[in-house]
Amino acid sequence: MKQQTIPSRFRAVRCVALIVGALALASPSAMAQGQQGIPPIPATPARVGEIVWARPFTVEVPWASDWRADHPTTSCGWIVVLRAESGMCFPRQVASPVLMANDMPVEVIEPVQGGTLVVAIVRADPNAQSLPNVALSSITLWWSAPALPEQITAAAAQESWNAASQGGMKPVDERAATKALDAGAKGVGPLQAKDRQELSDAALAARLAFEPVVR
């Protein structure tokens, strides 16, 4: 009955909120008993930061994703590495902003306290070659309101995606997507994983390449 809600605002509003929040934290009374260590939850919906690495994948054994209530079957997509402001990806216990690829929550791999890198598995529908049937640059990666991904229904995801896209949320920049794919797949091609475990291992390896020290 007292669920915390975060108002939906865009970047400019969020910046104001962050400044106000920072000022509040700087006041002596707040400093005495402010919640330390946990960055405030930024406003959503919000764009993701830079996409720095991406590699398409396909798996021999599809899995039912736990990241949306209807458990969509997943067999291909991209492993991506993104930069994000720490408040977005901070692994708090209460509900956190959900990273979305259009209307599908993205499977985030073991978020790290204080990290600004997000390593994630982006789902796609397969083409005839069992690879993503769309280009990475056609996908909009964005942060939606705090929730538990497993509780997000397909209908609710679609609704919030519609609202976000009408609000101006844009797909990944094509040049950035190309650059990320060059970093991740050039010379090695898509990852042909046996199963979800092998995919997870590859995703963790990707994170370690960017953030060698696991906190």
Partner: protein
């Protein structure tokens, strides 16, 4: 055991009882054919149990045959002796547990044992003999090497207390128990044998228990397998760490403890718990937990990893634990999202929504949640009737117990539990003090943080006690759960650390006087008796803070009780006082015989940020009165036992003022102490139980939330 009515009499009202000869069932003074006939008639029941296991079996028959023909001439008096001094009336209370190295005291009430006044007696500290052994063991031998002489005088127990000497050499338990039991004898005639007029503490259970410090590593060397891969577990979450007693193959099968971490935490962060529990003889795993999608996924990994380690016990760690997991005894421990996850996992078992291949619902003996979230709420995050423990830190900056967000209110989960339940609230601990490596989320007044080491030491004591109590009914563990922290704690715990405990038995071991769940008019208790208030007004309501702030306002009488969601139904009472006042719970005649019970207990919390609480600014003290039908009254101040009802942690935020969520604390008073205070009090005909507040009875002002007034068995 054998003389059931006599044992009950002992428990309830502390009066003496004479043990003649337990196997002499027919009372003819000789162990013989008549007794054998009675035993056979009671076969398979508790009716002729000699060993204390609650059943009459071949073991009891062997005991009886071993003393066949014995003439039962030895008589002695069975009465509690061990305990500790109180600074106010009743001046002494009988307790069983002493931490090794601490002062161990016995007391004798010479107003009852008048024959002993002016006598020189011998104190014998003996091994923990069974009831039958007392019959045969008439020769007294002191484990300290020599008895202790003692001269008794008049003046009752206040004048007849003595510290046991030479206790430093007493060995503690060599197995995984916390304590080792001993019996006590007052050898009244200094004969060196058990004889008429001697006093015995320990006729059935141990008279006293010398406990190791439960925060210190246990007796078994341990081995840790840093990581193994579990099969049949959600991909990406297959890793787990294993802890076990190194010599496990020389032991019987061991209970399994499963640790499920929280969001952003790692399975490698709970070594302190894994090694500690393994050192007391448990097999422990800490596993990767799928917490980011939510609680359902987290519960799945708990269920899967439990199944996996049982299935893989022959191969993991190169077979080191092969056939040594007792899969009928499983404990789940979870932290934050993992803390809710284990409750959801149990709920799924309960609902048959998940059917394991190698364990069943009843194998889950205990759930321990550390600062759990409450995403799923009523009906899902639910321990049901499984024993449940909650640990929580008042300075939690993550699962904060905030009034505006039910997800952060860990005590919602506690209140839903309907079996044995216990909580430990640590003032000054934060969320990640319960693991090794989480970020610093401390949120509270400067200078009040107790830190990771202190938090984990307390957690080790409480978790180990909960496990040993639940699995084995370890008497030492029990007292670490219900006695106020001021009265029993690890010697290593800082004197400034405040720990608040709740402990509630199951319905079959208690009699509820008022839990505010039924008969919701404030003038009628749950058991149907009248509730009479004088000088104050008792209110009742749901255990739910009604708004999003902790500021005190009159329209939110349950302010601070962040213990339920809208769909939850747990209720409690509330009242305030600034003068002498009382609330009397009248006991219906049909329930007036209270001799089946050992304690009167209730739980209470100071109303956070209420003006009276602010004025008091300290622990709240009050008096409990028992009145019998003849009008005999016995009063005891709860502060006599070393602590009152704790001042709320002075955390700010969410409105004006200082004070965080309501800290319910169990106050448990031995009925025997009321009799000690007023020897003519008749516990077989209790008329009322009264709380007396105000300057004449304790603190001069206060506001209390109160619940679960009940009589309980040991």
């Amino acid at each position: 055991m054998i003389r059931q009515t006599r044992s009950v009499f002992l428990v309830a009202c502390c009066s003496v009882s004479v043990l003649a000869c337990p196997p002499d069932f027919d009372g003819d003074g000789v162990v013989g054919g008549g007794d054998l006939g009675i035993m056979l008639a009671a076969w398979g029941t508790g009716g002729a149990d000699l060993t204390g296991d609650g059943n009459t079996t071949g073991v009891d028959l062997a005991e009886l045959l071993s003393i066949w023909g014995l003439e039962c001439t030895t008589t002695f008096t069975s009465t509690p002796l061990a305990g500790h001094a109180l600074t106010t009336a009743p001046w002494f209370t009988n307790t069983d547990v002493f931490v090794a190295g601490s002062a161990m005291t016995i007391g004798v009430d010479t107003t009852r044992f008048t024959d002993l006044v002016g006598q020189l007696v011998r104190i014998y500290l003996t091994p923990d003999w069974t009831e039958s052994e007392w019959i045969l063991g008439t020769q007294l031998v002191d484990v300290r090497g020599a008895f202790q002489p003692w001269a008794l005088v008049g003046g009752g127990v206040q004048s007849n207390q003595v510290q046991l000497t030479s206790t430093a050499t007493l060995a503690t338990a060599v197995d995984g128990a916390i304590g080792r039991g001993f019996d006590l004898v007052i050898d009244a005639d200094q004969s060196g044998t058990l004889s008429i007029g001697d006093l015995v503490d320990g006729q059935t259970n141990a008279g006293m228990v010398v406990a190791r410090d439960p925060s210190v590593t246990g007796p078994f060397a341990t081995t840790t397998l840093a990581s193994y891969t579990a099969t049949g577990v959600t991909a990406g979450f297959t890793a787990a760490r294993l802890y076990y007693p190194t010599a496990i193959q020389s032991m019987t099968a061991r209970p399994l403890v499963v640790i499920s971490h929280g969001n952003g935490h790692q399975y490698t962060w709970y070594d302190y718990l894994g090694t500690h529990l393994a050192s007391y003889g448990f097999v422990v795993i800490s596993h990767q937990n799928n917490t980011v999608p939510g609680i359902e996924t987290s519960s799945t990994t708990t269920l899967q990893h439990t199944q996996a380690i049982i299935a893989q016990e022959s191969t993991v760690a190169a077979g080191a634990i092969a056939n040594r997991i007792d899969s009928n005894q499983i404990v789940w421990i979870g932290h934050s999202r993992g803390g809710e996850g284990i409750c959801r996992a149990f709920d799924r078992l309960f609902d048959n929504a998940f059917v394991p291949t190698n364990y069943i619902t009843s194998d889950i003996k205990l759930l321990i949640s550390i600062a759990p979230t409450d995403f799923l709420g009523t009906g899902s995050a639910d321990p049901h009737a499984t024993p449940f423990m909650l640990l929580y830190g008042s300075a939690d900056g993550d699962v904060c117990g905030c009034p505006n967000n039910d997800i952060t209110d860990s005590f919602n989960v506690y209140e839903r539990a309907s079996g044995w339940k216990m909580s430990t609230y640590l003032q000054g601990s934060d969320h990640n003090d319960f693991n090794c490596c989480g970020f610093d989320d401390f949120t509270g007044p400067a200078g009040t943080a107790i830190g990771r080491t202190e938090t984990q030491d307390v957690a080790k004591v409480q978790i180990l006690s909960a496990v040993l109590f639940t699995l084995y009914r370890d008497p030492a563990a029990s007292e670490f759960l219900w006695r106020q922290d001021e009265s029993l704690r690890s010697p290593l715990q800082a004197s400034t650390t405040t720990v608040v405990r709740e402990f509630q038995p199951i319905a079959t071991q208690s009699r509820v006087i008022d839990n505010f769940q039924t008969n919701t008019a404030p003038t009628v208790s749950s058991c149907g008796g009248a509730v009479l208030s004088s000088g104050t007004a008792l209110g009742e309501g749901l255990m739910q803070d009604a708004n999003t702030a902790y500021t005190w306002i009159v329209t939110d009488p349950q302010n601070g009780l962040a213990r339920g969601r809208a769909a939850d139904t747990q209720r409690s009472g509330v009242f305030e006082f600034a003068q002498n006042s009382s609330i009397a719970w009248t006991i219906p005649t049909a329930l007036a015989n209270c001799t089946d019970f050992a304690f009167v207990q209730f739980r209470a919390a100071q109303g956070t940020r209420h003006p009276n609480t602010v004025t008091l600014n300290g622990d709240l003290n009050l008096t409990v009165r028992i009145t019998d039908m003849a009008g005999v009254m016995s009063d005891i101040r709860i502060g006599a036992y070393g602590g009152g009802i704790e001042r709320p942690y002075q955390r700010t935020g969410y409105g004006t003022g200082a004070g965080w969520q309501s800290e319910m604390e169990t106050i448990r008073l031995p009925l025997a102490d009321f009799v000690l205070q007023s020897p003519t009090l008749n516990l077989s005909a209790v008329q009322s139980i009264t709380l007396l507040v105000g300057g004449s009875y304790g603190s001069s002002v206060g506001r209390l939330q109160i619940d679960d007034i009940m009589l309980t068995q040991p």
